[in-house]
Symmetry: C2
Subunit: 342 residues, 2 copies
DNA sequence: CTGTTAGCGCGTTCAA
DNA sequence: TTGAACGCGCTAACAG
């Protein structure tokens, strides 16, 4: 069971030199004869030598590892962010450990503990929809380990954040619906625990106000993002005395489900009711009618989060900056709001 | 920059006892007074103490970590496998580090090095479509670190593997098409580097043979899974002198793209041409017409891979078993082969 | 350019 | 039941 690990000592013995020389050769120390350097490297390769990162971390107090915590892996959104983040981290010479929280607070807490135990040099995080207590994140601050939030950020912590302009995106979505002649626009909103939901709601409200459309509280339904419930809310909306002629959904999965429900009922999209989503998931261009939505620069979000993190890691704790990067969304107009497109 | 880490010594000092006692208390050693035990645990919590896994790994020569390497994160397939695997690993008390290879051989090699440097206790792997050389995996065997393949397995290594019954799935797909009256069934196949492709191809061929349908080489097109190329192949097939009346695609993304291309051309699905995919991605039930495909027990695959891995980890190297688990697929019949299904 | 020494944080002997 | 001492593999001083 316990395999023999090849160590620096093995190389040193095989070559008849000291361990420190081997260590120097392996770390690219300049004060070393090029012959010995080559000999060491060759022997290392021959013996399948692998530096033991645990030993190195123990000394340097750095693990050369960045942690990524995402709330879920089921939508295409977070995997793409992870890809962007991983690329940026790798380019900077860092390893990455990823964990997903299953949209569960307890799992998220456990994940942060894994990160701490692994002595990560920093983490980027998007929270679960359940997360209301942030103590498990504050530990990182206290320990001097930088933390950067993206997408689902923690408002009460003064740390770097990467977000898209949710307010602006929602605003654009609603103005687009108004421009197609819709007037009773409902909003399937997200939970208030996510500040993102609140920003999108505000964009929705302000777009209506700016255009002198009265706000009807009956048309605003916050829900917990459990897809199975969409059907209930859509049916409810359609049975109102004055039903909506458009629905702006908090995200694409919600919008897709809305489309499916409405199609089953037999209403025409967009003539009877138009739909707009948020995020431009892969499926949104394929469903019929294709979904009008706001596209996000997904990989760029991951990349930016890592960039901010690396910046923090290179500073003293006393010198940390809590910048917030806000990336723009693009309105992608498709058939769920404009039938005549192609 | 260098943050002060809370160590056992800090706890020992604060309590005025020895480090070894603290260590024992923290590891649940029975030879310890319950009072001191409690005192230590309380102080540890108070000081936000986190055990340094690097130090522990250095001593125990175990990292308590399992590595997962997947070829990509873009389809919904691998994220789901990862979820299953992670759950099983966590349940067994292991941490997990995930990396994705971007379908690139070089990245995959780099990922294995990260795993080795992190001293993982074992890994589960699904290879990239490019991988033809397996030296980077064989290192694990030589070092006595168990490795388990899933889905995209390495035929030339005698290690545990988890697969679905690709042959049987393909066979069922083709027999289903035949049962709907189709006779010229094309196959958009995968690259030969993936043994999975070969097994699906064989299932396709044998189903035709069994039913005395002549095999037409023109109808079999292997490709490298680059979705952008599907359009070319589908157009090519449709322009044959005797075009196919059905297409069995190697996987769902290929099948989806095929549907989109055919719809654009204006042919009717399934009347003019029927389509079958493989894997039952989320999108397959939503596209119109919905896609007939083979569903895989995705999370079960990840879970099974971890189970096999844990089993290997508990054995001596000399006692390793190279079992192969084959999980069954289910044919999910939808409108892309049977129009009348509501 | 190279060898020697100390010690990173912790688990684990061996004594007491 | 506790304490002291050793060493996991490696890097970073300090001497040559």
């Amino acid at each position: 069971m316990k395999s023999h690990q090849i160590t620096i000592i093995d190389i040193a013995k095989a070559l008849g030199i000291s361990k420190s020389t081997v260590s120097r050769a392996l770390t690219g120390n300049p004060n070393i004869k090029s012959e010995t350097m080559e000999a060491v490297i060759e022997m290392a390769k021959k013996l399948d030598y692998q530096r033991n990162l645990h030993a190195i971390s123990l000394i340097t107090r750095k693990s050369n590892t960045i942690g990524i915590i995402v709330p879920e892996f089921l939508s295409s959104y977070f995997p793409k962010v992870v890809i962007g983040a991983q690329a940026a981290a790798t380019a900077a010479g860092y390893n990455v450990i990823i964990s997903q929280s299953n949209e569960t607070y307890a799992t998220e807490v456990a994940n942060t503990q894994v990160m701490l135990a692994n002595q990560v040099d920093g983490i980027i995080v998007s929270m679960t929809k359940e997360t209301l207590n942030y103590d498990h994140f504050k530990i990182f601050q206290r320990k001097g380990i930088p933390i950067v939030f993206f997408n689902r950020v923690c408002d009460e912590m003064a740390v770097p954040k990467v977000m898209v302009d949710d307010y602006d995106g929602a605003f654009k979505a609603v103005e687009h619906l108004l421009s197609t002649g819709k007037r009773r626009i409902a909003h399937l909103a997200g939970p208030n625990s996510l500040s993102m939901s609140v920003r999108r709601l505000n964009g929705y409200l302000d777009a209506l106000k700016k255009n002198n459309i009265p706000i009807d509280e009956d048309l605003i339904i916050p829900y917990d993002l459990t897809i199975g419930k969409v059907k209930i809310y859509v049916n409810h909306l359609l049975q109102l005395k004055h039903p909506p002629d458009a629905i702006f959904a908090i995200n694409d999965p919600t919008a897709i489900e809305t489309i499916l429900v409405i199609k089953k009922i037999g209403l025409r999209i967009p003539q009877d009711i138009a739909i707009v989503g948020f995020s431009n998931d892969y499926i949104s261009s394929i469903i019929e009618p294709s979904l009008t939505t706001l596209s996000q620069p997904v990989e760029k979000i991951g990349e930016t989060a890592i960039t901010l993190l690396l910046d923090q890691m290179n500073r003293n704790v006393s010198d940390w900056k809590a910048v917030t990067k806000v990336l723009k969304t693009d309105l992608v107009i498709r058939n769920s709001t404009v039938a005549s497109l192609l």
